[in-house]
């Protein structure tokens, strides 16, 4: 690589030298702003040539030009200046601020570029600088906090684990709320293909993981329906419009530039609890090899001292657990431990179990173009190696992307990009745990609540004879997490190609035709398996091995005619009319095996039984669309749009929906002449309003009844044959199912004043989902248990705001500070059922005690239901005769108890960038206020007596409330384990609800850019070194400190479930440095 680079550099240098032999001279000078302060970064080009440069940090520049040529000075927010080269060698320029500045151009739906001032709806932009050189390879996580209204929740801190991206909250509970990703104009699947549910365990990465954040030129977030109407049904959840560097195809002449990014970061577990070291394994201060840590203290003396324990001798040692075990095979496997002693003391099992991870990220970008500027190209190469902090977790990714744009003649322009990604994600299994082992095979639960006196890392975890799992419990009835991490592996190897090609034909000055086709294809090869020899779970006891491919194809075609007319001097019009078709084809196929024959070999031939895995789903959507914008005298813009879609999985009568949108943008400064705005130093002001609609079409095949068929269900006692079943599906087809219609009103204001030092933008939106498509549970006595139907309505209202201030704007020192804010309120306004549990436990067939999200009329869509503390008519908490809280499954009105609401009060981000000369300092603080979470992590750490909050345990507890049998205030004293174990951990779900407010230092970075002077003698055009840290500090300040709990976890998987943690997502902290060099 290095040799090749050197070669290229040499060539480049030769090229530059060659050019400079023309009869030119060197012009130099200083560029200042209207206050006379030097302006760094001003672009200077010799008009009509490819020669160009930029001013340095002191506003100085040098450029080669011949007399008579014209130098063009451009800088954002300043009027362009032109100077003709004359006799002199010095040209100093003072630039003048452009009051009309900020005619920022943004990419809107279907790739249509618009000036921002013309838009009647909210769009947030995030530039490359906010996305490059990050420690996270997941573009969604990098986006966290960068744009108001965009919520990012990660499944946990595992490298490569799934991420949920929602914009402006949820507007449906049965359908997907995940934002649409558009990459270079075509849809990009962001599926999370995790099979199974959170209880049994599901792991899977989200497919935007295949994007390299370093290859992104810009991101626009279209939040509202008015903005996304043209994307049709898929745009209803907001659109993340990504333009890759390859796809940006910026015009203009430029020299070939090579940019290299290299980053190194550490990756470590951030959510390490603060364990207590006073007490060890046991119950009621008495030693035993339990799960719990309510045993004797590590002091010899005192009421709880180990001196009172018959099992602990005078030296403070126990008989080794592999000596006392009831499992004969363990005793036989460890003859050397028979009769051995085991020290009674605290062990640091947790920290030692996790390992230091690291992230290395390399990115090379080559951009260039032809001399005439008509053809540009970009090549991007990326390699990410991310070793997680959990044994067995890693992510590696290779990206290659090529793109370019060429104006073939005056009439044809072609543009194409192609991206290839290879993503290799590996993880141990993760399933929910509620503090009693793990619900499915999982690596975390048994680590988090390892009793303090259990030496997880010192005890052998494998039986040396047969490789089976061994652990401290007398009956070896919990699986050793080290055995799990080593023997149970989940791998997802993805190969992905997506390309887009676009052809534009300019019919005349006013009309152009545009064709675009795109393909997004990935093959996700899943290889999951466990060796035999585990315990607890059939799949681990006998071993299993599943291999299957998920092939997903999105074809997208788009054809449009675009026009641009000046109807009168003041009235202009642009329009787009087009047609589009899209096909989504998901195809899963593979084999599932069980019953490993020889330990250690994970191949299908080494398993006794096989069963096919096959599932596929195809859906087409065809749409026609139109949009027209009228602008009047540059101060009033009106945009109308409409789209009709037809979908392939509904009946002909119900398969289409037409939905319009209209938006208005008004610029008072342009409308009213005069200097009124000078008084308040208003540079820019825009008022906007819009009404947008969108439709949602169901997925799957909801209008035709089917018969399920399953093989290998039982053994026929007569014949010994395997039995197959046919079963009328309990899903009732609904031929009357129709698309749901979303409507949204939005109003906003944008402005910049005081020299544009202060920028603000605020938007209010109100979205209603009509004819909500719901997976509706039916009364089983009807013969069916589910259907899809149009019942209900959801109203989602919210407010988002962005404020930016240039606190200092000096020559050597600048300080920009930005705040973004989002709050919303999602309410189920119509609902026929008592409640529909759409996520969490009930939705996957689990019990109410585990907690669920439910849609209940009049309640928030973030509602959490679960078992509650019984209450009397006066609202007093009821305590039973044992002194424990009474557990109820319905409140006094017979309704399912509502125990929380996961929707936060607000989300706020505070982003700062400071520059002092060549030093840059940036930090981002994130604050999420409110919102509830059902935290099994906190409950377990308390209920099992593990963290510092439980160190004071010799006193008794009396639960506040009244006695159920007497009605008198409760005075029954209970001990530590009864309080924490019976109530906090295994009592009503309600007691495991915590406020999820969290304040977080999301990012901190310090960078140094080497000055131009210093680089003159090197091949570098620019060189920057940056030290950065991510998630360096957080505090969920309303949860017990000792738990050090991070509420940024999607405990029930990447779906519509919110507000759950089942010890399945410890968070990560990353810090390191990166170097960016361009040649």
């Amino acid at each position: 690589m290095r040799t090749k680079l050197n070669g290229i550099l040499t060539l480049l240098l030769a090229f530059v030298v060659q050019i400079s032999f023309a009869q030119e001279k060197t012009i130099s000078g200083t560029v200042t702003d209207q206050d006379g302060l030097p302006l760094p970064g001003v672009n200077i080009v010799v008009e009509g040539t490819t020669t160009g440069t930029q001013t340095d940090f002191d506003g100085n520049y040098q450029i080669q030009a011949s007399p008579g040529q014209v130098l063009l000075f451009t800088y954002i927010g300043q009027k362009n200046e032109r100077r003709t080269v004359g006799a002199g060698d010095v040209i100093n320029v003072q630039m003048v601020e452009d009051a009309q500045a900020l005619e920022e151009v943004v990419v809107t739906a279907q790739g249509i570029k618009r000036e921002k001032k013309a838009l009647g709806y909210a769009v947030s932009s995030v530039g490359a600088e906010a996305l490059e050189q990050r420690a996270e390879g997941d573009v969604a996580r990098v986006l966290a906090g960068k744009a108001s209204g965009v919520q990012i929740t990660s499944a946990g801190g595992m490298s490569g684990s799934g991420t949920a991206v929602t914009v402006r909250g949820l507007s449906s509970f049965s359908g997907s709320n995940q934002a649409l990703f558009i990459v270079d104009g075509v849809p990009f699947s962001n599926d999370t293909n995790a099979t199974g549910d959170f209880i049994g365990g599901n792991v899977g990465s989200s497919r935007f993981l295949d994007l390299d954040p370093n290859n992104i030129a810009s991101v626009e977030v279209l939040k509202g329906l008015a903005a996304a109407t043209l994307y049709g049904t898929r745009g209803k959840n907001g659109v993340i419009l990504i333009t890759t560097k390859a796809g940006s195809g910026e015009g203009g002449a430029k020299k070939t530039e090579i940019t290299i990014n290299q980053s190194f970061f550490t990756n470590e577990i951030a959510s390490t609890p603060n364990y207590q070291n006073d007490y060890g394994n046991g119950f009621d201060q008495s030693f035993g090899w339990f799960f719990s840590n309510w045993g004797p203290s590590f002091q010899r003396d005192g009421v709880a001292g180990w001196g009172n324990q018959p099992a602990i001798d005078d030296q403070g040692t126990l008989e080794h657990p592999y000596s006392t075990t009831a499992v004969a095979s363990t005793r036989a496997a460890f003859p050397e431990l028979q009769g051995a002693r085991y020290p009674w003391k605290p062990y640091d099992s947790f920290s030692q179990f996790f390992r230091p991870g690291f992230v290395s990220n390399t990115n090379v970008n080559i951009a260039g173009g032809t001399d005439d500027g008509n053809t540009n190209f970009n090549v991007n190469l990326g390699y990410l190696d991310d070793q997680g902090f959990t044994p067995g977790n890693s992510l590696s990714r290779f990206n290659l992307s090529v793109g370019g744009r060429s104006q073939l003649s005056n009439k044809f322009t072609v543009q194409a990009t192609a991206n290839f990604a290879r993503t290799d994600y590996r993880t141990p299994p993760i399933a929910s745990s509620r503090g009693n082992g793990t619900d499915g095979l999982s690596v975390f639960g048994n680590v988090f609540f390892t009793p303090r006196s259990v030496d997880l890392m010192g005890l052998p975890f494998e039986n040396p004879i047969d490789g089976s799992s061994v652990y401290y419990r007398n009956g070896n009835d919990i699986i050793n997490p080290r055995w799990t991490a080593k023997n149970v592996t989940y791998k997802q190897l993805t190969h992905r190609v997506n390309w887009t090609a676009q052809l534009t034909y300019q019919l005349n000055d006013n009309l152009s035709l545009n064709w675009r086709s795109g393909l997004d294809f990935y093959n996700e090869r899943n290889e999951n398996g466990s060796n035999k020899g585990g315990v607890e779970f059939t799949s681990a006891i006998f071993g299993f091995y599943d291999t299957y491919d998920n092939n997903n194809t999105i074809w997208d075609h788009f054809f449009s005619i675009n026009g641009n007319y000046d109807i009168s001097e003041k009235l202009g019009m642009t329009f787009t009319a087009g047609a589009t078709s899209r096909q989504d084809y998901y195809d899963r196929s593979g084999v599932s095996s069980s019953g490993q024959i020889v330990f250690g070999v994970k191949r299908h031939f080494n398993f006794e039984n096989q069963r096919p895995i096959q599932f596929s789903q195809k859906r087409n959507i065809v749409g026609i669309l139109g949009q027209a914008t009228l602008d009047y005298d540059d101060f009033l813009f009106l945009n109308v749009s409409a789209r009709t879609d037809w979908v392939s999985n509904l009946t002909t009568e119900n398969n289409s929906k037409t939905y319009p949108g209209v938006s208005v943008s008004f610029l008072p400064i342009n409308a009213f002449d005069g200097t009124w705005n000078d008084a308040i130093q208003m540079n820019y002001l825009k008022l906007r309003a819009s009404y947008g609609t969108s439709a949602t079409f169901p997925t799957g095949y909801p209008v035709v009844n089917v018969i399920e068929q399953n093989t290998q269900r039982f053994v026929d006692p007569a014949s010994g044959a395997l039995l197959t079943t046919n079963q009328v599906d309990n899903f009732r087809a609904n031929p009357n199912l129709k698309p749901e219609l979303l409507e949204e009103y939005e109003a906003g204001i944008e402005g910049r004043f005081w020299d544009s030092r202060i920028q603000f933008e605020a938007t209010y939106f109100n979205r209603v989902t009509n004819d909500l498509i719901v997976t509706e549970p039916l009364s089983p006595s009807t013969g069916f248990s589910f259907t899809q139907s149009n019942v209900g309505e959801i109203q989602n209202k919210g407010f988002e705001a962005d404020l930016g201030i240039d606190i200092f704007r000096g020559e050597n020192f600048t300080w920009n500070s930005r705040v973004n804010f989002f709050t919303n309120d999602e309410t189920v306004t119509e609902q026929e059922q008592d409640f529909i549990a759409f996520a969490g436990s009930l939705a996957v067939g689990g019990g109410l005690f585990r907690g669920s999200n439910a849609a209940i009329e009049g309640e928030s869509l973030g509602t959490i239901v679960g078992t509650a503390v019984g209450r009397d008519e006066a609202g007093n908490l009821l305590v039973n005769d044992g002194g424990d809280y009474v557990i109820v499954e319905q409140d006094l009105d017979g309704n399912v108890p509502i125990i929380g609401d996961a929707v936060p009060d607000y989300t706020m981000n505070f982003i700062n960038s400071l520059r002092y000369k060549n030093w840059n300092l940036g930090f981002q603080i994130n604050h999420i206020k409110g919102g509830d979470i059902l935290s099994s992590t906190v409950a377990t750490l308390l209920g099992r007596g593990l963290i510092v909050e439980t160190a004071d345990r010799l006193n008794t507890f009396v639960l506040p409330g009244v006695s159920q049998s007497t009605g008198e205030p409760n005075n029954k004293q209970i001990n530590n384990s009864t309080y924490f174990f019976n109530n906090i951990l295994f009592g009503p779900t309600e007691l495991r609800i915590y406020d999820a407010s969290v304040i977080r230092l999301q990012e901190l970075s310090l960078g140094y850019s080497f000055p131009k002077k210093f680089l003159d003698k090197t091949p570098f055009g620019a060189l920057t070194i940056t030290a950065q840290g991510f998630n360096l500090w957080y505090d969920a300040y309303n949860t017990p400190d000792g738990a050090n709990f991070d509420p940024n976890v999607a405990g029930v998987g990447i779906n519509n479930g919110r507000g759950f943690d089942f010890i399945n997502g410890p968070s990560s902290r990353r810090y390191g440095f990166s170097i960016k060099a361009s040649f």
Partner: protein, 553 residues
């Protein structure tokens, strides 16, 4: 570069154009992942019905046995122990479909498949599906009666008709019973012609329609028994050819030894014979009763892993059996009940014990060779483990000939009861004894011989005859319950009807709430059916139990 871009783009565009037609097909409504409605195989539908029925028996039996101390019940408060979700599965398997507990998990159900069978029968007049429909109706009828036994009401007239009745109102218990009786009549007519099974797998009687007729007769006896129609009951009972009267007629589900794909083992075996020990607690009451009476079935029912129990005949142990150190509460002391430990290694738990799980998986008593297909207790005091004993090839007893004898006794006088004890125990013990062979490694010298068995039966009958009314009731009920072990769907009915045996221990909790007379409505129906409001207590009786059970506890 320019021409490269041009060509690649044109190729891609051309590819896109040719492909775009496929993306405009708007007729993709049929799932490729399942059979179409008209492709159902009647034989395979019948398999689902049988698996759904058998799974329901597992649930009914578990709940009934817990409440009657045949099995151990965890939790101190009756209302909390049996939330609305308890019968969700049974309810959906009867009418719609729900998870299968027999073999490997899959959704199976009864009513919709029965309706589909009838539709297929109608559409194919030249094929006789009488066998299929007869079996389905008999099993549906039994399930309906059981739903009434457990809930008090059930859906019938408006069930399975979602277009007309999206929210069925439940029918009263007695009318559902009558409807079930009518279904049994239809089933009997269909079976009467001796129809061919057309190759359908018959998990219960291998296509023997005569045995199906006996089952239908037995279910008709149950109907009359619960309604108190003594004459009609006796009319059927008068001829052993009418009902399940010999071991050959027994209705049970045969389990197998396959561990994976499918797991055909008895579910209790699968839970107890694991590499990390046993996971079920046996009920102290039934073990203690059988131990004290020297019941010859005890070595078949239970497998002891140790020969002594802490707190009874070995030192109390706080770690493995915490209650062995505890002072029994007053209500146990007053009644003289065993609170924690049964001697001789019969290590189980007492009704309501809600302690956490200590490391006792290799010391507690496991299920034995009957009916779960585990180990025969030959005083080996070994451990449980994968594949040991009978490998799980036990049975799910549903309606055994011995059970019917106890019905006949219940419907008759003391003499009939004494006769029933003799008949029922003889058949029960004979059936149980055949299971000894499943555990090929067991020392058979510990099996009771014929003399001991005869002596035992005689002693029970003698004690019964010698006892006063209460003693008679207790002996009869105890023996009935012991006989029902593993298939006790009728135990709770009997207890509610008679209040016997009153020798069972109370709940650990002195105030466990009223003894359940019915369970809550299934939660999955309540939350979706606006015509149904959940009960707030468990004390509304079934129609055949109008007076409730004041002496139940």
């Amino acid at each position: 570069m320019k021409s490269f871009l041009k060509y690649i783009t044109i190729v891609l565009i051309a590819g896109g154009l040719t492909q775009s037609c496929e993306t405009t097909d708007l007729e993709l409504r049929t799932s490729p992942n399942a059979l179409a409605s008209d492709q159902a195989d009647p034989n395979l539908l019948l398999t689902s019905i049988q698996l759904a029925y058998a799974t329901n028996q597992q649930t009914f039996s578990d709940v009934s046995q817990e409440l009657t101390r045949i099995d151990y019940m965890f939790g101190r408060n009756y209302f909390n122990n049996y939330p609305g979700s308890t019968l969700n599965g049974v309810w959906s398997r009867t009418y719609s479909s729900g998870g299968n507990g027999v073999g490997d998990g899959v959704s199976v159900g009864i009513l919709t498949n029965l309706q589909t069978l009838e539709a297929i029968d109608e559409a194919n007049p030249d094929i006789d599906y009488s066998f299929h429909i007869g079996v389905a109706k008999a099993l549906y009828a039994h399930s309906l009666m059981q739903l009434v036994d457990f809930i008090g009401e059930a859906a019938y007239t408006q069930a399975g008709n979602p277009g007309e009745f999206p929210a069925p109102t439940l029918d009263g218990g007695e009318s559902v019973y009558d409807a079930a009786f009518a279904l049994l009549g239809e089933a009997a007519n269909l079976m009467g012609s001796g129809p061919d099974d057309l190759g359908a797998p018959d998990l219960f009687y291998a296509g023997d329609t005569g045995k199906w007729e006996k089952l239908i007769g037995t279910l008709q006896m149950k109907y009359h028994m619960m309604k108190g129609n003594t004459a009609q009951f006796n009319a059927i009972a008068s001829n052993p050819a009418n009902y399940i009267s010999s071991e050959d007629d027994n209705l049970f589900l045969q389990y197998g030894t396959s561990e994976l794909q499918p797991d055909s083992r008895h579910p209790d075996y699968a839970q107890d014979y694991t590499p990390s020990g046993a996971n079920i607690y046996q009920s102290n009451w039934i073990m203690e009763t059988m131990l004290e009476k020297n019941d010859p079935r005890i070595r078949y029912y239970f497998y002891r892993q140790v020969d002594a129990t802490p707190g009874a005949d070995s030192d109390p142990n706080e770690e493995t059996l915490a209650c062995s150190l505890a002072q029994p509460p007053q209500h146990f002391v007053d009644g003289g009940f065993t609170y924690c430990s049964v001697p001789n290694g019969y290590w189980g738990r007492t009704h309501g014990n809600n302690e956490g799980t200590p490391p006792d998986n290799f010391t507690r008593t496991a299920v034995g060779v009957y009916p779960a297909g585990g180990r025969f207790d030959d005083n080996s005091f070994g451990t449980v483990g994968l594949g040991l004993g009978g490998g799980g090839a036990g049975i799910e007893p549903i309606l055994m000939s011995s059970y019917v004898d106890f019905w006949i006794g219940y419907m008759g006088d003391d003499a009939a009861k004494a006769q029933a004890l003799e008949d029922g125990l003889t058949k029960s013990i004979a059936t149980v004894q055949t299971f000894g062979d499943l555990d090929v490694n067991a020392d058979t010298s510990f099996e009771p011989d014929a003399g001991r068995i005869a002596a035992y039966i005689q002693s029970v009958v003698d004690d019964f005859n010698a006892g006063d009314a209460e003693t008679k009731n207790n002996i009869y009920a105890e023996q009935y319950f012991i006989t029902l072990y593993g298939g006790g769907t009728e135990a709770w009915n009997y207890y509610r009807l008679t209040g016997y045996p009153n020798t069972v221990p109370p709940n650990w909790e002195a105030q466990p709430g009223p003894f359940p007379l019915t369970l809550l409505y299934p939660q999955n129906e309540v939350v979706t059916n606006p015509n149904l409001t959940q009960k707030t207590s468990l004390d509304s009786p079934v129609f055949w139990n109008q007076g409730g059970c004041p002496t139940c506890y």
